[in-house]
């Protein structure tokens, strides 16, 4: 078990910069998810931690020790690949025993550990069969077992669930959490699925175009996104983010939306928008579950009127798409009385709304 410090790491492939000045501290035993859209540099980051790629600039430290001189085979890392990378020309047993054989572990010890791991991953009935005969789900288990059996200092998982069907994915997600407890390992998990990251990780590092956008506990990131990208990326359904110009009219600060509508700002969100006088374009963010219908509950909340365009059932609740001129707001229909075509008033809670600078994407004001 190790702690990992990623210090100002940059990785360039020719002209292309995959990772820019990335710094992340991962403590011993933590489960950290690297979350971001495809091509954001998260797999490259993972490969650099594993030693499959060398950083162009910066350092990666394990327990404070620079690993750049250490060959990958001496780093003692467990790596589960997206496509599992099973040795299909070997038996299931040999797949599990391979890492131990390379490390010259005595035979009886190998035998014992392979049996134990196969049982733990419930593939012991398949041990003698060629690995190529396994189903995708079993390959996944084998891939995890093969990486875990060598008791690595850190455990890296690169989108391990993305090839699985939905049912098994949910099962594996829970299983991974259990395994992490059992192994007690520092785990780094790459995913583009925010639900996976949210449910599994102790901490999430959100990466976009090679840059770290935010690093913190899942709930902190959800409740307190530091920039527009994170606000937009995390949460399902997505946060409403509407862009416009800030304009002062007869003592009222308004956000004139590009769609033609306007949001009169008041209370906390107004303070947020005005904390930096140089900002002229703003982005107003509010999560669908924070929008409510009916009477204003707080004095500073903002009342708008919109037309119900679509109602979409999501589980027991309904999502309402509210059109205000050319801007669409998504809200949970908490009253369950809405009908398509209705003109309804709805409220944006001021203290739960977020303000962003439209040019830099950075959060304005905030906690």
């Amino acid at each position: 078990m190790s702690s990992i410090q990623i210090r100002n790491v940059t990785k360039r492939f020719g002209e292309f910069t995959a990772v820019r000045d990335l710094s992340i501290d991962i403590e011993e035993g933590e489960f950290v998810a690297l979350l971001g859209p495809s091509g954001c540099g998260k797999t490259t980051t993972m490969n650099m931690i594993a030693g499959l790629e060398d950083p162009t600039e910066g350092q990666i430290l394990f327990d404070g020790q620079d690993l750049s001189g250490l060959r990958i085979q001496d780093r003692n890392i467990g790596f589960v690949f997206q496509n599992y990378a099973i040795f299909t020309h070997l038996s299931v047993y040999r797949n599990l025993s391979y890492g131990l054989e390379v490390k010259k572990v005595p035979k009886p010890e190998i035998e014992r550990r392979v049996q134990a791991m196969a049982e733990r991953m419930s593939i012991s009935h398949r041990l003698d069969q060629p690995a190529s005969s396994l189903s995708v789900n079993e390959m996944q288990k084998l891939a995890i077992g093969r990486s875990a059996i060598v008791e690595p200092r850190i455990f890296l998982l690169d989108e391990p669930l993305s090839n699985l069907d939905a049912g098994f994915r949910a099962y594996m997600r829970a299983e991974l959490k259990v395994l992490q407890h059992e192994f007690g390992q520092t785990m780094i998990y790459v995913t583009h699925d925010q639900i996976e990251a949210m449910s599994l990780a102790d901490k999430i590092a959100i990466i976009d175009r090679g840059r770290l956008m935010q690093y913190g506990a899942p709930l902190d990131i959800y409740n307190d996104p530091q920039n527009r990208f994170v606000a937009n990326f995390v949460g399902s359904p997505r946060m409403n983010l509407v862009d416009g110009e800030l304009r002062e009219e007869r003592g009222t600060l308004k956000l004139m939306l590009h769609g033609g509508a306007e949001i009169p700002l008041s209370g906390k969100v107004r303070v947020d928008f005005t904390c930096d006088g140089s900002v002229h374009g703003g982005s107003f963010g509010v999560r669908p579950q924070d929008i409510y219908f009916g009477e204003k509950r707080g004095g500073d909340d903002i009342t708008m009127t919109g037309k119900v365009e679509v109602l979409e059932r999501v589980g027991p609740k309904r999502l309402a798409y509210l059109q205000v001129q050319d801007t669409l707001f998504v809200a949970f229909d908490d009253l369950d009385r809405l009908r398509v075509g209705d003109e309804v008033p709805f409220c944006l809670p001021s203290d739960k709304s977020l303000a962003f600078d439209i040019d830099t994407g950075r959060r304005l004001g905030g906690a």
């Binding site: 085979q73 003692n76 790596f79 690949f81 990378a85 040795f87 391979y98 060598v150």
Partner: protein, 285 residues
């Protein structure tokens, strides 16, 4: 959709015809090898099967003479057979080993990006065009009529084939499998020979067979670069004429039968890899 009986019949008829085109000369060769001298020299009354089967032709090429024949040979098949085996096997080994290593370096490490095309150039011009310079060079280094001289040119000439074939096989191996092995603690070399090579084994076997057949059936290079000691089977076959009897078809047929054996045996040995090797690129990972 199930094909109609008519279409099916047509299909089989076509296959049958195609087989006949291939098998008929082969059958002719095999039967002729067992015909005694009068039977393969006669113009009238040619028969499909030997009327009086005999080992006469085989005896003749192995011993230089045979009972009932007035002609004799000053060279038996033994020398050329050994020469062919030695040079083909060495040339194949050379081409496959260097082709495999080179293509792996190109595919996995991105080394020598121009190598694939420059290797291909070896096959872009007719062999005859470079034959004379090669003869001069080989004479200069004393490689004419030696086993290593012929093996060397076989290795060089078939290298592009081995290189390109192995390149496609290596491209099929997901890099993650090798990464996984490296993470498990394998060195580059160990990854190559314990993980990657076993995975491409079908390809390796297929490649070796093809290269072997190319070398085994070479006539031109052996004709130019050997004189006496290391004459190979195809060149030797061309010399099987007699001043009295003209072309010795029966003996040539016997020689053909013998010459066909090594590639067939090789093919049978790697049969289980062959189908996989031939369809390697077509299969999804």
């Amino acid at each position: 959709m199930k094909p109609s009986p008519g279409a099916l019949a047509l299909k089989y008829l076509f296959i049958l015809l195609a087989c006949a085109v291939v098998l008929y000369p082969l059958l002719w060769m095999v039967t002729m090898a067992f015909k005694p001298y009068p039977e393969w020299t006669t113009v009238a009354g040619l028969t499909w099967l030997p009327q009086d089967p005999t080992w006469q032709n085989f005896e003749f090429i192995f011993r230089g003479h045979a009972e009932g024949l007035v002609v004799s040979l000053d060279r038996t098949i033994t020398g050329p057979l050994i020469a062919s085996l030695v040079t083909s096997i060495c040339g194949t080994a050379l081409a496959v080993v260097s082709g495999t290593l080179a293509s792996y370096a190109v595919v996995r490490f991105g080394l020598a990006q121009s190598l694939p095309l420059s290797v291909l150039q070896l096959r872009l011009f007719p062999p005859l065009a470079v034959m004379i310079p090669v003869m001069v060079m080989w004479a200069f280094i004393g490689a004419v009529d030696t086993w290593w001289g012929l093996s060397l040119i076989y290795g060089i000439v078939t290298l592009p084939f081995a290189f390109w074939l192995m390149k496609t096989f290596f491209e099929e191996v997901p890099v993650e499998i090798e990464d996984a092995a490296r993470v498990s603690g394998c060195s580059y070399w160990r990854v190559f020979y314990r993980i990657t090579l076993p995975i491409v084994k079908p390809g390796l076997a297929t490649c070796a067979l093809f290269v072997f057949i190319l070398n085994w059936s070479d006539y031109l290079l052996a004709l130019m670069l050997t004189q006496k000691e290391w004459v190979t089977l195809p060149v030797y076959m061309a010399t099987l004429t007699s001043a009295m009897g003209g072309q010795m078809y029966g003996m040539k047929a016997a020689l053909g039968v013998i010459a066909a054996i090594p590639p067939v045996v090789f093919g049978l040995m790697i049969q289980k890899h062959l189908v996989r090797g031939l369809t390697f690129g077509a299969l999804k990972q």
